[in-house]
Symmetry: D3
Subunit: 340 residues, 6 copies
């Protein structure tokens, strides 16, 4: 299959061991991840050619981010070197009623300071048929937003399918700004991915009858949101992940796909959480793989949900699972029996 | 707000990593805690001035106990230096049907050998309006019991509110002795705190209709116990924590407050446990903060229960949570959604 | 009580910390275990004389296996030295819907290359009254199978009770071969132990009405299997463990004993899993101890199930629990309340 | 003794374990330190009242920096909260011929964005008789340089002794800029501290006859530098540390003091290095303590050198040694015999 | 520059933390390395295109070996999948008078079972101008030796320069066999690399006047050996590393190059050792880079020695240093001063 | 060879990782050791039957001490259970000029409270021909001293050789008391072992011309001490270890044996230290093994010194080396070359 290109940020994630709070930590576990980088790793783990486009500082920390991506088979030819720093985020894992906590230290990063001119999309898109970005990338700065717009236009010129995870981040921009900027990319987007809050936070589109905090999911409400999204922007497909947060330790997880004028709902997974960061990204990665592979709409959705269900059992931002592992779960085996 | 003074023991806690049994361990994680020290840290974390009064050996282990308290903002001016050793307890974390196990090595400690004359209560209580101790402190030795009696009298002289967590420890003394000694302090106590067993073990007061081992809680039984306690000793308030032990991994947690002739029951939390040691202490810390802050009786109870619910998700003896974190949970958000 | 002799393999188990996947690991935790070694450790932990018979390489890795057994009180006089390597297995712990994964690297091991002549059973069985082996041992090679046959014959000559855990391993041999070879030992076996799949995989005996993958257990089906086993081979007792896999994190656990023409079913335990490897072995160890101790049939079963329930809360292959800990759980206290 | 005030930066230091290179690390050990913070900790460890003045972000990382200082007894009342981030530096420990490597990520820090108005020096200097800063603080930004100038003036108004470690950092500013800015503070400085390169890099003052890279130290050259410094700025005392770098594992360490028109040279220590970061700061801390304590000039120098010699054997930025430990070494006992 | 191809084994290295002996370890640090893999990583770290050719099992352990090579930028297209296991070696780090100890468990590995037909050298050598292998590869089995012979012939057909590190391993074959087999490759070899023992152990060529155990190096003796090697096999260059083992903690390190009829001796480095495994391989990597880069003979030797000097300060098998780091040391700066 | 019996204390040793100071530690590495236990482990490692006699508490910490001894092959049949606690010592590893530091917390231990009647020496000494104790054991309490006297008498009755390491501990008793008590055992002692200070501290016997602190050793002085010891108590052999402390990282190590009216001096080892605790004990273990094995006097001394030289490179209290490893070093190979 042809190459998938992901464009966005990669950060150094620093997390205390186990369930220690920040103030108790004398060490941090380090992984390198970010919304679009995580999708690229998912795809490489499925055996696809996946390239990750970003900019990292020309120092050992930036190089370590490159190495982590290389390690898992991602094409890093377009991880440019320059700028002043790698964005950092500190993660404190929650448990039971105590939520996970993220402290961002991502300002002034190399990618945040990158410019449209840094990226040669004609070269980058050679051999590719899919382009993926998220709402985080343009939120990093107006200059990056310009680069995203350019990338979208070029992607369409090269005939790529474009997917976008709305991924609203309130620390990076306001809903107002997000709505305005994101709207400029939407005409180029074929597949929109969102979680239960993004559509409202970015575009003011509300899921009627849905009480997110209470973990209750109304199918009708989600259908309504998907339909509104499609109608406004003309997407070919809209996928929405449905997280039911019982506690920081236990979540329900499912998703919906609106495609070809049909609504598909996945089975629901009751998950005991190891690490939920990157859960949404792993859904995106699974969906792209499944759609590229020509699975049916229902199967594509089930693949994406099963893939992202498994992510919640894996440490770090990335989803380290194979196609066959996802398919086993998708086929109904979530019993966790030892595989010898 | 004025200062809270806590008087008691601080020990070195040594625990194998994760769920290793003692016999498997080649290393121990070290934290410093104890019933009254834990309350002091809770209060300092809420932004109160909290002083911890004790005696530790004049060696690096004693100093490390001081440092740990300083680190979290507790006033350590009255952590006296002297005596021969810091008490130690070994903790093996339980899971599922296997209970946590504590091996005490606390005899001959500096605080256990401390004398009434060591403590200048007039100086210690300057600027304070609350004094807290637990049933562990007098159990450390007759000399310490004398110091406790002195501290109670002095606290009353200085007009302080006095709270006492009954905290019966069968390894330190018998029910008979505990009952006799504890009774001498009760006239000075305003707020009595107990778990579901203490009232019976210390004062022979039984909760009718309560099957503790089975995790079943009878509201009427607890009311009865609280009433008996109040009637016998004239407390202004009686608080009882209600733990429902499903397994070492999962507990129910709630509490009751009897105050101003009313019985208040908190909501119940289904907790997936990270570390339950110090759960009761964190309840005491929460209650003191809430009462001092002028919250309503129901809110005070809910604050204390939410605070101690969160403690179960935190490693170590201390409860490292802020007022706003407790209030968020108290307001109903226990969904554990990531805080970015 | 007289000595129990266990004969089989001990391997070096290498597992990433926590829930890391193999590809994420930069270190492996090392323990030494194996089906029969695990039973020997269980028995030593119960205070019995237990000897483990095997062959390990004469190098520091082999010595470390010996040391681990010595550490927990097993008689290692018959852990012969020689051959080229210690078998290894890599274990990746699963969580939630992601199953645990085992990668075996056990070929060409010292025990796999051992010969009948290596073992002086007359000497080994002196002072013993029980012999235990599993279906793994003969699967290691025809030469080892010969040694097992010899050991069975000698055990009977010396009047020992013989127990065998069928323990089918599809990576070591086919069902066909297993069926043929195992059948040659069965005439010497008094107590047969199996999990929910073994009877079918080894002897083609099916439990009607049992859907193992779905975690549903039919009592009638298990009775049927036990009866067929007894009828075919004349066992004095047949024990079958009943695992209900909800996920890699949560299992149900129970067992059945068919003895003296009666069927006994144990209570069921809902287990939150720490480490399930060795769960079956700990059942065997518990059963042998209970039967040797003269407990009633029902008690013997309950002891074995409670013992193996506790194993699931303990890291590593071995079951580090005492008789009194098992009896406490067996008596109904699985509440996990802290033991001070 | 009266309080010492230190003003400057505190950073999160992230270092791979042991001698791992950045690219090999999957975790970082975390300590909090910085030139002036390190001096404050040294002084607190000697039993002095030491306050550290800085600005840290109002998030858990900033709080952890405060906690670390509190832990070791530093007065943190003037560690202001605000701004956007805590500066970070990544440290890779060198060994043998491979040098230690520092990657700075300190731009845009809270202290770097602090303004003159943030600091109420009248309040801060109450009860103090010594003020310490280094050349790093003004290099953080023109705004901080203004605050330093203000602090110097105020210190003099309050009659404090002022010490300054020149501490040139080429990543923060050029020699030209440093020379200009630093010169504005020098009229207020009583005690100047420098390493073998600072005088040249900041003020263009060269030590004739000294080959730093080669690790050769010319006493005459250092005298010359000290004299030039004193003549130009009118210091009461000039101290210069003399490091002879044999390799990243082995250094020679000594110092010179020019005071009361005399040149004092310390004994030399051949050091096997554990962690050399903060070596210079620990010299400054030792010197301030010694001078405040009224030691003779020679003893003050020897105390400072012995203190900083010991620092090289201690992990982290801070020098965790007591006065008696320093005095023991100063008295000639560097034999390292076990202290029981 | 054109690609370098390295052909050989990669193993999982398992080492206790720090200086623990095997019998004390409860965990092993895991890295993936081997003589030729180490050379490939060196070259990739210098920015060259380096491909590593081998065969690893198609399981997560084999994949982890691939990932480790990818992580550091090596082309892994020809790391074939198949066979039964990855070779393992256990490493116990020595210190002072206690030597490091290696326990090999490398038999029956995937590469050891690989056949000539597995490797398509025409494809592999496309775009390459250098081929490197060591005496370990053919020692893995006659089948592998055949593949090596084939690779040598093909390399010459494609006009590649061929380098070979003699690297005698007494556990893999006898001197007799090594001599015979290695002799068949030598006609194709341009650059021969050896340590102070290899020439004698493989080809019976003795360095007169050299007492290796005593750590004394006779220049004349080495010249003699190099000359004999060249005369017998017609090499274009012969390089010999000269290790002076003072203890497991301290070594002297230098080398000699015989090329263009001249003998070149490098400077000597007194090394304080972090990890000396892979020291010889890093010399080979440095030499290949330097010769390909067109450095002078003396510079090439100095580059190779400086590179391998640095390796001794780096954990693991691989040499993680850059060209500029090597050149800095080569230029004489081994002072280990902190690089900020 | 016949059994060796060692009688004394075993403690839990708690040490921060690496070179962290106590105040920096959040975890302690745990090993179990003590003067006589260390000798027993040495002997078991040499393949001798070695029994360790002591008393430990009947709790998991006491059991862990038993397990550690079992793990390394020591006969633990006479490690009695009872009393209240296991002695603890905290160890902070020194480096360079910073000395290692020991904080004892050994009072009130089970062995310290043991009584003469606890030990059935007739049973213990069956099958033994050597008895070893140290000056630490009787220092634990008068009751233990009585037991030691009893053990000495019984040992002589059973015809055992008795060795005693004087091992003066100033924290346990005064020189005066030590001198008096130790003198009562000396008539039963055949082999006396001492370090450079013990003879003076216990018996007031001074080595003329020896400057211990300065690390200078006068052979004549030591001869004089040995002679005086022999003359006063009639020992068959006197061995004195000679430590030259250059720093906490580097020591010289040698020893002297006075036997059969001859003085033997060993070669000297320049040691780079990993862990020097137990160095003296490993000398004792080596000497006992060598003398029992019938080595010559010079060889016995060299074996003991080489054994204890190696101990300094091994973590923990115990000396984990084999006879062949000691003999290799004794034969002159301290070059530390990798053993493959």
């Amino acid at each position: 299959m042809k190459k998938v290109v992901c464009f966005g940020e990669i950060m150094l994630r620093l997390a205390p061991a186990g369930y220690l709070r920040f103030e108790q930590a004398q060490a941090f576990e380090a992984v390198y991840g970010g919304g679009e980088a995580n999708v690229a790793v998912s795809l490489a783990n499925y055996g696809l050619d996946a390239a990750f486009v970003t900019k990292v500082p020309d120092n050992p920390i930036g190089q370590s981010a490159v190495n982590e991506m290389r390690r898992y088979g991602v094409d890093t030819s377009y991880m440019l070197k320059g700028g002043s720093r790698l964005g950092i985020y500190f993660l404190e894992k929650g448990a039971s009623q105590r939520p996970s906590k993220v402290v961002y230290d991502r300002a002034h990063s190399s990618i945040g300071a990158a410019k449209k001119e840094d990226f040669n999309w004609d070269e980058i898109f050679a051999g590719a048929d899919w382009f993926h970005f998220t709402g985080i990338t343009p939120a990093l700065g107006d200059n990056v937003a310009e680069a995203v717009l350019e990338s979208c236009k070029k992607a369409k010129e090269h005939g790529l399918t474009v997917s976008c995870d709305l991924n609203f981040r309130k620390n990076l921009w306001t809903s107002e700004k997000a709505g305005k900027v994101m709207a400029t990319f939407m005409p180029y987007v074929d597949v929109a991915i969102a979680n239960e809050e993004d559509a409202e936070k970015v575009f003011g589109i509300k899921a009627h009858g849905t009480d997110i905090e209470g973990g209750k999911l109304s199918h009708e409400g989600y259908k309504d949101v998907a339909k509104q999204l499609k109608e406004r922007f003309g997407f070919k497909a809209v996928a929405i992940t449905l997280r039911g947060s019982i506690s920081a330790s236990d979540n329900n997880w499912a998703a919906m796909l609106y495609k070809d004028d049909e609504y598909y709902f996945s089975r629901n997974y009751a998950i005991h959480i190891v690490d939920r960061v990157g859960g949404g990204d792993s859904f995106g990665g699974g969906l792209i793989y499944a759609l590229k592979s020509g699975m049916s709409n229902q199967d594509s959705l089930e693949f994406a949900v099963a893939a992202s269900c498994l992510k919640h059992s894996i440490e770090g931002d990335h989803n380290h699972v194979s196609v066959s592992e996802v398919k086993t779960l998708m086929a109904g085996d979530g019993s966790g029996r030892v595989q010898r």
